[in-house]
């Protein structure tokens, strides 16, 4: 009995901090309404405006059904954009936490560093999923006001589960990436700079905005971009019709997508943990 009790206490000492850090992340986000609107509104506007502007010039890739409009092609990309924005911006709070002194309060608490990382990452991931879910509901509804295509959802419950699970994996990896960036930076300006020269291009070159070309340097950049597999995986999971389409550079197989995204996730989470374990002067200013 005693050993059970001890095991329970030990796991409580780990999961209670994880839970409370996650809870705080959600609470903070929903107290700042402008952030809720910003992270969802911008991608939504992008989807409608680019959808309207690029309708004529868009050439559907060969695997796509011929009647596919640009907005339909763009839909998974916008979902990933929402996840990226929400996940990344939730990690900016690390820089604010440090400046406001909150972080050092957490650092002197008897909290395993891994629990600190997991708390932050689950908070960011959950927020990203909530925002993405809102878009998955609102996006198709725009059809009724003439701003979007008719998007019928033809997913089975298992299909939904797989899609949300995969989106969660992508969100977790991106939050860990944002965490690692925020942990090493001492100003939000620096974060915004990295955002525009690194994260935005990463998203643009992930096949979310335009398909991966068959050859050329751009093709290689896009193939090496881990987010390409996140977008492609989501695309496959969103449309069961694509299940039989064989793998190509612009639409790798589901397993390739999963393996690449999983690898990306392991890499960024390891980086986040490693950075957190070092005690650095930047955190105690």
């Amino acid at each position: 009995m005693e050993s059970v009790d001890r095991t329970f206490r030990r796991s409580l000492a780990f999961w209670l901090p994880v839970w409370t850090l996650t809870w705080r992340e959600l609470l903070r986000f929903f107290r700042q309404r402008s952030r809720v609107v910003g992270a969802l509104g911008q991608p939504l506007i992008f989807w409608v405006l680019f959808g309207a502007g690029l309708r004529g010039s868009f050439q559907a890739p060969e695997w796509a059904p011929s009647e596919m409009s640009y907005q339909e092609y763009f839909f998974p990309g916008v979902t990933v954009m929402i996840v990226l924005f929400t996940a990344i911006f939730s990690t900016i709070s690390i820089i604010e936490d440090r400046r406001e002194g909150f972080l050092q309060g957490v650092l002197v608490a008897p909290v395993p560093r891994l629990a600190l990382v997991l708390g932050k990452l689950s908070g960011g991931t959950l927020l990203a999923l909530i925002q993405a879910a809102l878009f998955l509901v609102i996006g198709p509804l725009l059809h009724f006001v003439g701003l979007g295509p008719s998007l019928g959802w033809h997913l089975s419950p298992v299909g939904w589960l797989a899609m949300v699970g995969f989106l969660g994996l992508v969100a977790f990896a991106l939050t860990a990436l944002g965490y690692s960036m925020a942990w090493s930076l001492d100003s939000t300006q620096g974060f915004h700079a990295l955002m525009s020269v690194f994260l935005m291009p990463m998203w643009l070159l992930s096949g979310s905005f335009f398909p991966v070309p068959e050859s050329g340097w751009l093709s290689w950049v896009m193939r090496l971009n881990p987010l390409t597999y996140g977008v492609a995986g989501l695309r496959r999971l969103m449309s069961p019709a694509l299940a039989d389409v064989s793998a190509s550079s612009s639409l790798p197989s589901l397993w390739t997508c999963f393996a690449a995204t999983y690898g990306f996730c392991v890499l960024t989470v390891t980086l986040a943990c490693w950075l957190t374990h070092r005690r650095s002067v930047i955190n105690v200013r």
């Binding site: 409370t20 309060g105 005690r279």
Partner: protein, 315 residues
């Protein structure tokens, strides 16, 4: 019984040496004050003691555990209150305390009871649902201390706890700290740059330019100077200083526009000085040495001068 043992501790930020071979001990159940000007090294020492900064060289043990190897065990037993409150400003006072409790493995009814107790003790009960952002600096400081006390630490580390407190609140805070010390046996370490606050500590360590220049009770430190302190203002202090040396064989300390002489039987010297230099001296005062006098005697400069210099360097 020793609570904290610091042995030959040095710490550098790049080229700048913030702590230079500091050695001292803090006993269990005492209120220990780290006194010094800003930039003197007390915040660095505070961060090492609270496990935020690694031990670069030397040896530090807190509650019989080595800080370098056993910081996890120490963290469970110490409470830390920071100079910049570590509260989440978007959360309410109570939400902050719930969060803090969870970080320390507290939950449910036990946590709720503790929160109510701390809020009542620090006079925050009626503000517990207010967002931290809406609180005055003094109330934020009290919430910060409630946060540090939540898990009943054996050792409480407070960095400049009176910052932003009005005199009444400062008085209440010290009464609370003394109560914690005497009733619960908590060891309390405070950093401060306020002399009047240092007077309330059981023992003091004076830190200047990274070095521990004095250690003892406030009374012991004052006794080390001995006698009386004469403070003389003059229009030409340098010239007056020379003439005092010629006439009396005393070398006054020159501090800005004032001269300072420490001496037993100060009242006799006072009379002789005024008779000898009636025109040069604009004012002269005689007093028992204060902690500021101790500081000047130990470092050769005024408490605040050093602060200004450091401020200039760091911008």
């Amino acid at each position: 019984m020793i609570a904290i043992r610091v042995d030959d501790l040095s710490h550098a930020y790049g080229e700048r040496l913030a702590l230079n071979r500091v050695t001292f001990e803090i006993r269990r159940g005492e209120i220990f004050g780290l006194l010094g000007p800003n930039g003197g090294g007390k915040t660095t020492l505070f961060r090492v003691l609270s496990t935020l900064l690694p031990v670069q060289s030397g040896h530090v043990s807190v509650l019989d555990r080595d800080v370098a190897t056993n910081s996890a065990a120490i963290r469970q037993r110490i409470g830390v209150s920071f100079q910049a409150p570590s509260l989440d400003r978007r959360l309410t006072v109570r939400e902050n305390l719930v969060h803090q409790g969870h970080l320390y493995g507290l939950r449910g009814l036990e946590l709720a009871t503790r929160i109510d107790d701390r809020l009542a003790r620090l006079g925050l009960t009626d503000r517990m649902h207010a967002s931290v952002n809406s609180l005055s600096g003094g109330l934020q400081r009290r919430a910060e201390i409630a946060k540090g006390m939540l898990h009943d630490p054996e050792l409480l580390l407070l960095d400049e706890p009176s910052t932003g407190l009005d005199p009444g609140a400062r008085h209440d805070l010290w009464r609370y700290l003394q109560q914690l010390r005497s009733q619960n046996g908590v060891t309390i370490v405070v950093t401060t740059h306020l002399m009047e606050e240092a007077e309330k500590c059981d023992r003091l360590g004076l830190l200047d330019r990274g070095q521990l220049v004095a250690l003892g009770t406030p009374a012991e430190l004052r006794a080390e100077i001995g006698g009386d302190c004469l403070t003389i203002s003059a229009d030409e202090p340098t010239r007056l200083s020379q003439r005092i040396t010629e006439r009396f064989g005393i070398e006054p300390k020159l501090l800005g526009q004032t001269l300072r002489i420490e001496r037993a039987q100060g009242h006799e010297l006072l009379r002789e000085l005024v008779e000898a230099f009636p025109n040069e001296i604009t004012s002269v005062s005689l007093g028992k040495p204060s902690l500021e006098d101790v500081f000047i005697a130990k470092t050769g400069h005024r408490f605040w001068e050093e602060t200004e210099n450091t401020n200039r360097v760091t911008g």
